[in-house]
Subunit: 358 residues, 4 copies
């Protein structure tokens, strides 16, 4: 219940947006795992701003520096610490926020929580930038899982009401996941992408922002991982997914849609495909009783629109105790959902590896 | 990542549906808290089957026996253990499930996870009956919170497509929550209740079941509780909510709906109401940056339809390795959503108390 | 940091000495492990009072009732809960302790910690009786370890200045450990036993009590278990050993004696015994860098004398705020060290199993 | 059970002796705590080698670089990460250790544990150098405790058989602790220091090393901190103390000596000193039932002699599977006990702060 997550492989995230650096410690990694740092950099760059016109023009290098835990390209079994330096920060943009908190941001509750001592510059420890070390940690875990036959990928299912083709939950090709996990704006249907980009551009022009949904899938996960009650796939995954800033909803399989179904519709009938037990549908999202069924794990995370918008907004002046107007300056993403996709995948990788016996 | 949850106040759930007893240990409760066991029994009875025509006719006494941690009606500060004996079980109904697993149930993945050694009778440790000790634990925590000005209540927002009036998220009267938290089928709009009951009855007649959504609110929660990343209200709440069997989706505030909004719509504008900072809307569900804002906490949990339906279903025979037909016998709820409401409230109480300094 | 211990296999201890029952929940046990309840009962009876003239005449049945987690004599993989009922309690003996706290007991600090709401009767949750569920939990873990070739045993090394022959740390026969682990007063040297018994009897006659040391060994532990820093054998073992009431010291291998040695004496030289790496001495107690070396694990736990003595003692009256005299009535062990041996072994079993991959 | 420790304030230690850097993350610190970095540097320098003729001539700068969690000299409430760069490393000294493991070091068990992938250079993550970030973390916690009236100090009680005057456990002046906590070779009795230095010098001349004992005390700790069983002062303190490399024994109060006492001797009689409850003796070391009594906390940690000695030693060649001779080169402390004192104090500070409500 902090900035650290995990029991078997603990990921401890640190840093503030405009501090010296941000980073992560991964404690409990198996030794001898070869790490492909180009693959790590690819995941980092998918999340990094400025890679895609739909995102913010602020550029970050975001190349992580390995401090410990790796020797000759392999994990040593000791904690792996990686640092990402903060550069290109313009702290002047963030003055006065402690006095007039931004709607939709953590400013006001964080002021109360930390007695005004938290670092407000660039959002401090609440900044979306803190997802960079999470992506790093996930990229490391992903490689270890990949070596055991597990593929992870995601796509932007929604931006506002623009909808991509959803995954076909019983049949998700590994190469689709790999393609999606390697591009900055992952969608299945190119037309949907164009509509999404138009919606985002319209929001930007209107000094506004827009939300969306990421759909993520994991294939190759053996049946029998997880457990009942709080050790299940859903509670464990959700406890890290909701740790991603801006996530306001998480659902597995048919999710909220299952609430509208009848049992006869929602139950996934089993059948033998050769010697393998499969299900004809996958409303369960690959999880029953908290345990993997061997079908793909499918889940969705809803992201609220970026709270930083250039339009004037109503707020309060905590000093004068009067209502106040606020205009948020600085460079902000009109939509973070495409950049959130690799973060969601990273969280899924970290969650899954914590439930597996390696 | 097990049947235990919590750091400050650890709740350890044990028991199997047709074993000797089920129960819970609560470790870390403050000492000297007066416990009203009639209020506890009320919460237990809301969850208990057979109290409402919309639920199963199977009756359970479900009166918990306090084993430890209470003296003269007050907590002693030592672990509080409560036992609920299993009676009125008909284990004969559940034979053969290990060979032909029920669709929608944990039978198949649990078989793999536990090598066939898990107790299948009545669902064993996967049974919805295990939510009884959770309700007990929540009822204890609820009283401690109540003494600190916090009210918790919930209602059935959906059964299939029948929809109750949702909470007005900026203004949820404490007495509404208290009324909802004391009835077996909590709804705000009586007409909606009738439609829901009709839908459930129709499902029952059709040997089917139906899902739904519970909407829950907490008022009186001080601003400044929680934290960024994995220590936030959302990750902590979701990690216990998804531990409730049949929950497939959780969302806070506008939730998945926020994904369709623009920032200018979703941001909750602050204003001064007397000397108090409030928000004109509450799309945040009372949470920004994982921290409470002082507005009501509002969230929803989606329940899949009960997987136990009397209709014939397709499955597999794990012995003969051939496809098979299955008919689930026994007494089952056509809809568990009304009985799930107190479970959701209990989970919320346990989650919140773990984040507070008492 | 509570009455629960462990990550992989969590043991949650509950109960108060004069409450309805005491017990334990073991969460995370592997499924399918056959449990020999006679062997469990043997361990319980070694700890139980009244089995040996050197211990208290108070009799307890102490037969644990399995509430969950076992079916057909095997673990189900769900939490195993066991209850031990409290009978034969004479609460009248313990009145007035809240006002005049007993020296050497938790009375005074517990009063402050729990605001006077803790159950004082029989020591409540602080009672040595709470080691009964610990022995139960350890007896379960011991069997799982035994099946993997690991033997655990201990003996009373000291009672006051009476000293048993210590283990020969490089060569501890499994059958010696098994013999010691099956008797109520485990010693290696029968003459030492007689001296110890005499010392204890003398203390009893003098209305006094006496302390001692338990030496414990584990053989058959594979090399390579544990890890550096806080994941090592020593920190993990000590964090459960010091949880045993009355333990005031723990040392591994040469322990405090190592402080008096020179490196050339303390370092254990390696050699090949056939194809196996062994050490000519075992000052390390089978642990280097927190990791097992394959040599026997050897450690010692020091127990203070039972604080309950019949002699008049000096204390304070917390009500009148004046100094006061106190006489502790009731039936008490003049020496708990022999009964503590199975508790130490149980703690070691629970600790080790949490560090192993089963 | 890893390189991270703590629940309320988690300390995650990372780094390898000859890697880029070592460091620590402190997660959960209260916000707004002023940090005196000169006081931190003082603690770091007490541990650093080369400050005292009795220690190794290898020099480290050891000045920690604050990466996050501090703004304008105060904690922000976000994780505090500090880095200590590794310089002045001579990795050539450590070749061949994987083949011929050093007696008394982790080389052999770590080889098995990590499959040979661990960083052996300079001891890697097992190096005593990893205590530098622990001292850093402790120095931060110490300041927070100090502001709440708690003093921590320690001295070298033993080097081999040279003995310093022990603490008078009922009466430990705060200024004595402060003096001891500010010097490189803390002893109470100057004559004892001279004997210890002579013994260390003799060991160095003999190409040998020598062990010792650190005695540590905390004053000003309020009564009522801690709890029974595994949440007690002793289990919590020991679980971090035994995480310090080379610690082989820990005892509280009379410790192993209590095993030789009678109850009438060991029980600490209470009396009123003005309105305050005190004890005439302090064999309990300030702890009863795992809870502080308000008397000073007193404990001792035994350190084995440095395993690195220049003399030829017997070992094995893991490649040829034959016995082998080994000579350890490099610069090593003949006695680490004086440098261990600030590490012990740091561990105590981290342990205590995790049990307190700040």
């Amino acid at each position: 219940m902090s900035s650290a997550w995990g029991e078997k492989i603990k990921v401890s995230i640190f840093g503030e947006s405009h501090g010296a650096a941000i980073g992560a410690v991964l404690d409990g990694l198996p030794a001898g795992e070869e790490l492909d740092f180009e693959a790590v950099a690819l995941q980092m760059s998918r999340r990094a701003p400025g890679k895609d016109p739909a995102a913010t023009p602020r550029r970050e290098s975001d190349l992580p520096k390995i401090v410990s835990g790796v020797l000759n390209g392999r994990t040593t079994g000791a904690p792996l610490c990686a640092l990402i330096e903060n550069t290109n920060t313009k702290s002047g943009d963030y003055e006065n926020l402690q006095r007039v908190p931004r709607p939709g941001h953590a400013d006001y509750p964080a002021f109360l929580r930390y007695g005004g001592f938290n670092d407000m510059r660039g959002g401090g420890h609440f900044s979306g930038r803190l997802t960079a070390p999470l992506v790093f940690a996930g990229a490391v875990c992903r490689q270890i899982l990949q070596r055991r036959g597990i593929a992870i990928g995601s796509h932007v299912l929604f931006v506002a009401d623009c909808r991509d083709t959803p995954f076909s939950p019983t049949d998700i090709p590994e190469d689709l996941l790999q393609r999606l996990a390697s591009v900055p704006f992952p969608v299945i249907d190119r037309e949907a992408e164009q509509k999404m980009r138009n919606t985002i551009e319209k929001a930007r022009m209107a000094q506004d922002s827009v939300g969306g949904v990421v759909e993520c899938a994991l294939t190759g996960v053996p049946a029998g991982i997880g457990g009942p009650l709080f050790g299940g796939i859903e509670p464990v995954f959700s406890s890290i997914l909701f740790g991603i800033p801006a996530v306001k909803g998480v659902e597995f399989g048919a999710g909220f849609g299952a609430a509208e179904l009848y049992g006869s519709q929602n139950n996934d009938a089993y059948y033998f495909d050769g010697g393998t037990v499969k299900a004809r549908t996958n409303n369960a999202g690959g999880i029953l009783g908290g345990i993997t069924t061997g079908m793909p794990i499918v889940f969705r995370a809803a992201f609220k629109p970026t709270p930083s918008i250039a339009r004037e907004q109503d707020s309060v002046d905590l000093k004068t105790k009067e209502n106040a107007k606020l205009r948020v300056h600085g460079r902000h993403d009109p939509c973070i959902v495409s950049r959130a996709a690799p973060v969601v995948e990273a969280a899924a990788a970290i969650a899954l590896i914590n439930l597996m016996t390696l």
